[in-house]
Every structure is written in C-alpha cells, then in structure tokens.
Amino acid sequence: MKPAILVLTFAGACSANGDVRPLAAIAGDLAPSHLVAPHDAGPVPGMTASASHARAIDPDRELALRPASHPDRSRRWWTKIAGSELATGIALPTTAPGATVSLRPLDETRAAVGIDPNALVLVDPDGVAHEGDAAMEHVLGWDELRAGESPFAAGTSAFRIDAELGHGEWQLRVDAPLGESDVLVHVVEPASALVLVARTDAPAYLHGHTVVLDVDARVGDELIELAHATARARSPVGETHDIELAELSTGRLRGTLALAEVDVEPGAAWIIEVEAAVDHEGVLARRNARVAFAYGVPSAGLDGRVELVDTARGDPTLAFGLEIATAGRYAVGATVWGTDATGRARPIGAVEAASWLEPDADAIELPLASLLDTPGVAAPYELRDLRLVDQSRLAILHRQAIAVAFTPL
C-alpha cells in the first residue's frame, strides 16, 4: 500500500509561539487521498462534550515506530460436511500425531444435543477402525465443554487423536443418524511442522486503498508448493469478495483487494480467510488461515497546517488544520518526544483531545499540558504516532509515525 496524501502544503512555520514543522506522511503511514462521507447505519454515537488528556510516559520504554500487521501462522483447518457424508466417512488427513478435532452441528436442532462422542469411529491410516474412544484421548461431548465455559458453540464435541497412533490418512465416521444438515469439522495440529502463513501488508487501510495479501506454506524455514489455495474477504457489514491469488515464486502467492466500501460498522474489522492444500509426505494436507485488518472511511483529514497557539489556560497547544466531510466526534492524539542531553529523542508523554465537530470546523486543538517542562529533555520536540480518529465510527483516519517537529519560544 502506498497511500497518497491529502495534505496540500508543508512549510516550516515560524509563528509568534515558536517554530513548527509539519512533516509529510511517508510510505507505511496511514493517510487518506480523499474524503468520503460514510454511510452510517443510524445516528452515530459520540458524546458532544470535549475532553483532553495528557500524561507522562516512561522515557525508557521501547516504542514501535509504527504498527505492523499480524500474520496468521496456521496449523489448523476446517471444512463443512453434510451429515450424510459423515455417516459414510470423511478423509481426515493429519501431518503430525495428536491432532485435536472438534465437530459442530450447523443445525440448531442438532446443536441442542450435539454429536454423541460414543458414535464416533476413527479409521487409522492402516485401515483399522477404532470405535468409541479407542483411538482418542480427552473425548468431550457438548455437556462437558459447556461446563468448562468454553467459547464453543452449542453442540460442539471434541477429541484428541491418540498421539501413539501416528498421523496420515485417517478417516472419521459417525455411526448415528445426522440427517442432511451440515457439520463443521475443525482440526488443529499443534505438533505439525506444516504451517500456512497469511498476512496483509498493513494493519489498517482507508477507502481507496488496496490490500496486498501474501500467502505461503512452510515446513520449518522451507517454502513448499501449494497444491491449491483460495482467499475470500468479508467486510464489517457482510459484503464478501473473492481474492485471486497469483504465484510470485514457488510456494509464495499474492492477491490484492481494492477497498471501496462506504457502509460503516464502527470498530469491526475486515477479515480474509485463506484455504489451502499442500502435498506433504504423501498426504494432501489442508490448512486454513484468517487475518483481520482495520478499515476506515475518511470522513475527515488533516490538511497539513499545524500551529502553536495561545490558549486561555496558557498551556502549549498545537492546532491542526482539518477538513471534515461529515459531522462526528473526532480526536487527535500523539506521543510527545523531547531531546535529551545526548541528542537522542525520548518519549515524554501521551496526549489526546476530542470534540464533536461539524463540517465547517477547520481545526482541532491538542493541549500538551506541562509535558514540555519534563526534566532532562528539551527542544526540539516531536509528535510521533500522530492519529486522527473518528470516534463516532471508531476509525483511525490518519496515523503518522513522525509527524511534527517543533520548538516553542
């Protein structure tokens, strides 16, 4: 993702209150290229009273320059199977001993009672059938899982395949009438060396941005060829999009997704699910992975103007120029850095201020309280991790690793 920048001009400003230098957002920062009025599902929440907060932070704490996306390194897979197929038996390929398997009826009536663990039959890779719990460790029905207050849905049963019986082409059968309704079979193989990795190129995007999705399969550090892979995205409001994956090199796939949704579900994330199959030690092994990313419709943007302004309280305050497409509660926040005696930048505080703003507002103020009086540091100061937030829609609209350098008079 290489976001374009809304900001029109950047110029060092030597005002009556000091020298303030806004810095341009660069690759890796989050910044809108345009403003869009989101489609709100209803009246947006947002308190109208203004609030601000400033506090000192540990100058020795290691802070990341910018957030990174979180890859899913999956050793699990899942599939939806008709109950009638389970009655005749399904393939249950495993790549390591001790796989944990759960079965979840996707039918509300069946879910009320679950699948009787005593009706399960495992057929090992040598074709030997093991009835009941003969090949299982830790078999639990829904009653036991429910008692454990697990997050699993009603009707889920689970078991672990006896690790001493090895791995390979297992089969699973249920000797009980399940009807035609679907059952979700979920397998996790914690001891497996086979890992499906999925990751996006950023943790957050805005309307008009393009997500880059990278997918690979590995055994240890070695990339291995994928026999099959698909990816599908789901927006916070439920729109789905297939993502075409193209091979970059052996074992490495990439897909892209252009984001243009304007409907808002505050705070909810997009998700992408990847399904893959890999030939591994004679078994067509399966893996699924899921990644999440944040998304915002740029209802407002910083216009590049930053000034040190006088306020009634007398605290140093930075004012940020703003363009607003639609009303909401907006916040600006950042970490404040000073320069120590060795010339090294050190974090000294965190600041945040929020107000309800109408489209005709053209600035938002960020009081710095007494942070600039912190002993041991002096100018030049910096604002890092600068964020413009639409609190009404829980979206970060601008996030810049190093945003402003300033020296008050």
Binding site: H138, N288, A292, A294, Q391
Partner: protein
C-alpha cells in the same frame, strides 16, 4: 518474567500523584458474559468478601454487572462499566480505586484506560484508579476463540452458531486482539504503557484429576473441560488462555505457582475463586493500597 516490584514501577510517571489519605474503593470486573449478579454467580462471596475486608471501609465495593458479550467499546460494556465505577467514585466518595478484573474484563478496562477522550467520563475514572489487578487477562486473545469462530466468519448473521459472548468471542480471536492492541489499546509490547499499573496474575496449568481434591476448587466439571481445551493451546496455559496472552499487557505480578499453596496451578475457572490462596494475595494487595 519474575516477580516485579510494584512499588518501583511507575514512580514519577503520573502527572497527578495519589493522595496519602484517599478514600479507597474496590471494584470487581467480570469476564465475558452478561452478568446480573456477578457477586454470587461469577465471583462468589467466598472470594469477594475476604478481599473487601481489607478495605479501610469494606462497604466501598462495586461488583460490576455489565454485558461483556459485546465488543469492549460498546455502551453496554465499557459504557456500563464506566457508569458503575462512577457510582462508586461520585456516589460513595471514593477517590482511589483498586480494580480486580478477570479474563476479558481486563480488555474492557484497558479500553477505558487507553482511550481517555472517547467518553468524557473516562479521565475522571483513570485519575481514580490506583492500579488494576488483572487475573488471567485475555490480552492477546486465545486460539480457542479462533477455533470457535473458524468456519463461521461468513455466516455471522446466524447468531446461535457462536458460543456465549458472540461479539466478545469474535473480539478475543488472536488476530483481532493483535489488531485492537495495535490500533486502540495500550500496554502491549511496542506500545506506550497504560496510565496506571496493570498487574497480571498468570494461570499456568489445569488439574482435573478426580482423585485430587484440588481439582474441585472452582468446579470439577469446569476443570475437566479446561483440561481438554488445553489441546488448542501451548504448553503453558490455564485451559482458556496461553500464558503469553495473560502476560501480554502491563506487567506480570505473579505466576500462580509463585504464591499458591503447594505451588498449585490456577485454571481459568479457579482464577476468579477462593482457590489456593488467591484471595489472600489480593487481600494483602488491597491492604497495601489502603495503608
């Protein structure tokens, strides 16, 4: 991570130091679920009462009842929590507060601590909190939530497909918590620290032997379920959360074996009950806050 001295961490970081003669209160914040009587149903009097007795005025206790099946920012979650904490602060004159959380309750508290301007009530609450004792917090999410949601992400409209805590389970997927930690929450690696001390107690194992009376504490059947769910987790877990998740925000105060009787492990069901001396640890902690 070993035992951290709480007296030394955070000194000099607050802009407004606490008062030496403050009125101390105590709040219990439950985990995922919609509670209406958390005192009896979630915590039990056997856990709450001995800890509250350490307060200079033991009546200054709030056992919070909110809907933590919602996303943490939801008005029925963080908004409800803020309202009940303010009842204690404004309504009963508490000006310093020790907050004890369990599991996902820590995430809701962390939302308030991390987003001070989201709600104009938050700054007053943040200023009043002395520290948070986070019992088994789900700070980095849990692979159990991944497994519970796997295969249903494209069928979210079918609410019954999820276990209890629909949106809360979605939120506690490892991928979702990584996202929320990087976007909205403070206190994890690489992020600014929280504005108050956030001290986690980490449960490391589950024991559900029918021949061991210790397995009865917190409910034998609960512990049986948690022993199986360890199969979804790594070698150090309380049956619901991996130790890394419990230690993922703030500072580790204690691993279970460092303070429990005979070094017993605390399962996820036991870290909100009077098991193996947990209530004594917290009693001493509240006593220290009030001294």
């Amino acid at each position: 991570m070993g035992i951290v001295s709480r007296a030394l961490v955070g000194l000099g970081l607050a802009l407004v130091p606490g008062s030496a003669h403050a009125e101390l209160g105590l709040a219990f914040v439950h985990g995922t679920g919609r509670q209406t009587d958390a005192y009896h149903d979630y915590w039990t009097p056997a856990f709450v009462d001995p800890i509250a007795s350490a307060l200079p005025d033991p009546s200054l206790v709030a056992v919070v009842n909110c809907d933590f099946e919602q996303f943490m920012w939801h008005d029925d979650a963080a908004g409800c929590l803020a309202g009940q904490l303010l009842e204690l602060i404004d309504g009963q004159g508490v000006d310093e507060l020790v907050v004890i959380t369990h599991s996902n309750g820590a995430n809701v508290v962390r939302w308030i601590l991390s987003n001070p301007t989201y709600d104009p009530r938050y700054p007053q609450i943040i200023a009043a909190i002395r520290w948070v004792d986070a019992l088994a917090p789900s700070s980095l999410g849990t692979p159990l939530a991944d497994a519970a949601v796997d295969g249903t992400s494209f069928e979210r409209s079918v609410g019954w497909l999820f276990g209890y805590g629909n949106d809360a389970v979605t939120m506690q997927q490892t991928s979702s918590m990584a996202l929320y930690n990087s976007q909205w929450l403070l206190g994890t690696a690489g992020r600014p620290e929280l504005p108050v001390g956030f001290w986690s107690v980490v449960g490391t194992d589950v024991d559900s032997s029918p021949f061991d009376k210790d397995s009865q504490c917190g409910g034998y059947s609960r512990n049986v379920g948690l022993e199986l769910t360890q199969n979804w987790l790594d070698d150090c877990s309380d049956g619901f959360l991996e130790c890394a998740s419990q230690a993922g925000a703030g500072d580790v105060w204690r691993y279970d074996h460092e303070f429990t009787m005979d070094g017993e492990a605390l399962s996820h069901a036991q870290s909100r009950r009077a098991c193996f001396g947990l209530e004594s640890l917290l009693h001493a902690d509240v006593e220290e806050a009030g001294s």
